[in-house]
């Protein structure tokens, strides 16, 4: 009996590990059997194709990565035609990350995807710092998060996960609004705002000037956000933010996360997710604790 099985919304995961949206793709199927993951999370899909932002799009900084990709994606039609059939062949849960520029657009995107088999959950990306008039514009206002979640709750029976931004005054307030509107779970955190400047040219290193900051540097920030939100809500949390080791993953679970996602670390160690799955299982065995009891087991 696998001790690390979890229930997340209407999904059952064989283990509590997935990948963070935008940091992973079917390319990695050449390296390992992707069905070993508890779930797969796609890059964010939008109603129309998005070319993405002008380069320079990424810059490595101290213990982290700045990006301003700008949700480059082929759009929902092409996703359904090309990517979804490939994802559907993989024997694990599929979380489709989506973004749109209005509540109605979000709803019609979900409606379109709801006609397709092979999708287990939607991760509602209302926290991308790199696109104007969508993404984070939704994720910072509690009332809008409530209205959007409620509308999507009325639209689909599939698991709804709202992905939250740390770039807000009160993340717990937003989390509660999402929960009250019927979200099945929350994903946190998306990237922090960040920037870097070339001191010789005095120009920002990212073309977009400001980008999203990820990687090990943001782990303590993410952890305290997860801890705070876990204490404020009852629905499960999919935690992410700099997770780069088994120990990192365990910290988030102990802080109250039901599942975790590996993001930037995929670029450093593409087999990191598998090592973390094994490590969590080993920890549960060696500490003689069930995974369910480990969640939120922080001692204050």
């Amino acid at each position: 009996m696998n001790k690390c099985e979890i229930k997340f919304g209407k999904m059952r995961w064989k283990n509590p590990v997935t990948v963070a949206s935008g940091t992973f793709g079917l390319e990695y199927a050449e390296l390992f059997d992707l069905s070993q993951l508890g779930a797969l999370t796609t890059k964010t899909i939008t109603p129309e194709p998005k070319a993405g932002n002008e380069p320079q799009r990424i810059i490595e900084t101290e213990a982290g990565l700045l990006n301003s990709i700008g949700l480059q994606n082929p759009g929902v039609q092409e996703f359904i035609k090309t990517d979804l059939p490939e994802y559907s062949k993989i024997d694990t849960n599929l979380i489709v990350s989506i973004s749109a520029s209005s509540i109605n657009e979000f709803a019609s995107l979900v409606k379109k995807l709801d006609t397709q088999l092979g999708i287990d959950a939607y991760e509602i990306n209302i926290s991308c710092p790199n696109v104007e008039n969508e993404g984070i514009a939704f994720g910072t206002a509690p009332e809008i998060v409530f209205d959007l979640t409620k509308k999507l709750r009325e639209t689909t029976d599939r698991t709804l996960i709202i992905k939250l931004s740390p770039n807000v005054t009160s993340i717990t307030d937003i989390a509660k609004h999402a929960e009250n509107a019927g979200a099945d779970g929350l994903a946190l955190i998306n990237t922090l705002y960040g920037m870097a400047i070339d001191v010789e040219t005095k120009r920002p290193k990212l073309h977009n000037i400001v980008g999203g900051y990820s990687g090990p540097a943001i782990k303590p920030v993410a952890l305290q956000n997860v801890y705070k939100v876990a204490n404020a809500i009852k629905i499960p949390i999919l935690a992410m933010g700099g997770i780069s080791s088994v120990n990192d993953a365990l910290e988030f679970i102990i802080a109250g996360a039901t599942a975790i996602a590996v993001g930037t670390y995929n670029f450093i160690n593409p087999l990191g997710t598998i090592e973390i799955i094994e490590g969590i299982q080993e920890y549960c065995i060696s500490h003689n604790i069930s995974y369910k009891k480990l969640i939120g087991s922080i001692q204050i």
Partner: protein
């Protein structure tokens, strides 16, 4: 594509700026196209975080070599690795150069852009091509082989001046069918102009800051002309080799 942790076979210093990193592995040395690259990192080093991409320099039996220039912390760290130290490699990655058959071809490289060219030269010769090889650098420090036409800006080795000027002077007498180039972007741009004027296909290998190396993150895109439109292409997966005429060069 493989992801492997492998002991360093040898790190050989070329001079104070360049070194050759060698590893031995049967799988990794199979079916590598010239111009393909590997993402390499010392897993013991936490910062810098990301691996760095390096083009394949040479394959002899099961020994895979990379010619690397020390430009930052990652490359400096790699330059002092001892034999047996475990490094991680992800690859082979990218599309690689299309290898012409029985043609007259010109290879042009600049600085560390020399790295993928000896292996390309070998493959081109095996495919029956007649190969001219021109290489340019700032000084004799940037020259790696006496068997190619070397140019240095300070005149310390080979022809004095830019390699592009030297190629331009003798281009029309050579009757070249295809050009392969890797080096500074201004050089690649100048060569692309020369080739376009003469209707000669040119393949350029580009370099960009990369994160995933496999096409997942969309971090390393460049602008390419395709069917009358400008589109973003990933240097790691759609490249690093592109038709020079299609690249929209940075201003």
């Amino acid at each position: 594509m493989y992801f492997k942790k492998i002991p360093v076979l040898k790190v050989e210093s070329v001079n104070d700026e360049y070194f050759v990193l060698r590893i031995r592995d049967k799988e990794l040395t199979q079916n590598i196209k010239p111009g393909q690259f590997f993402q390499i990192k010392d897993p013991d080093v936490a910062i810098p975080l990301l691996p760095r991409p390096f083009g394949v320099y040479d394959i002899k039996e099961d020994v895979l070599s990379f010619l690397i220039k020390k430009v930052g912390e990652s490359t400096k760290n790699l330059s002092i690795l001892e034999e047996g130290h475990i490094i991680q490699l992800l690859g082979p990655l990218g599309n690689g150069f299309p290898v012409a058959q029985n043609k007259k071809v010109l290879i042009a490289s600049g600085g560390i852009g020399y790295a993928p060219m000896p292996y390309l030269e070998q493959k081109l010769k095996e495919a029956g091509n007649e190969v001219w090889f021109y290489h340019g650098g700032q000084s004799s420090n940037d020259v790696f082989c006496d068997d190619v036409q070397n140019c240095t800006e300070d005149g310390s080795c080979g022809h004095a001046g830019l390699v592009t000027e030297h190629i331009e002077n003798c281009f029309d007498s050579m009757d070249v069918d295809v050009v392969y180039a890797c080096g500074p972007e201004l050089m690649l741009q100048a060569l692309s102009v020369l080739c376009n004027e003469r209707n000669i296909p040119i393949y350029v290998s580009l370099e960009r800051i990369m994160a995933c190396g496999v096409g997942a993150c969309c971090g390393c895109v460049i602008k390419i002309k395709e069917n009358g439109k400008v589109v973003y292409k990933k240097v790691c997966k759609d490249g690093p080799v592109f038709g020079g005429a299609k690249v929209i060069w940075d201003e």
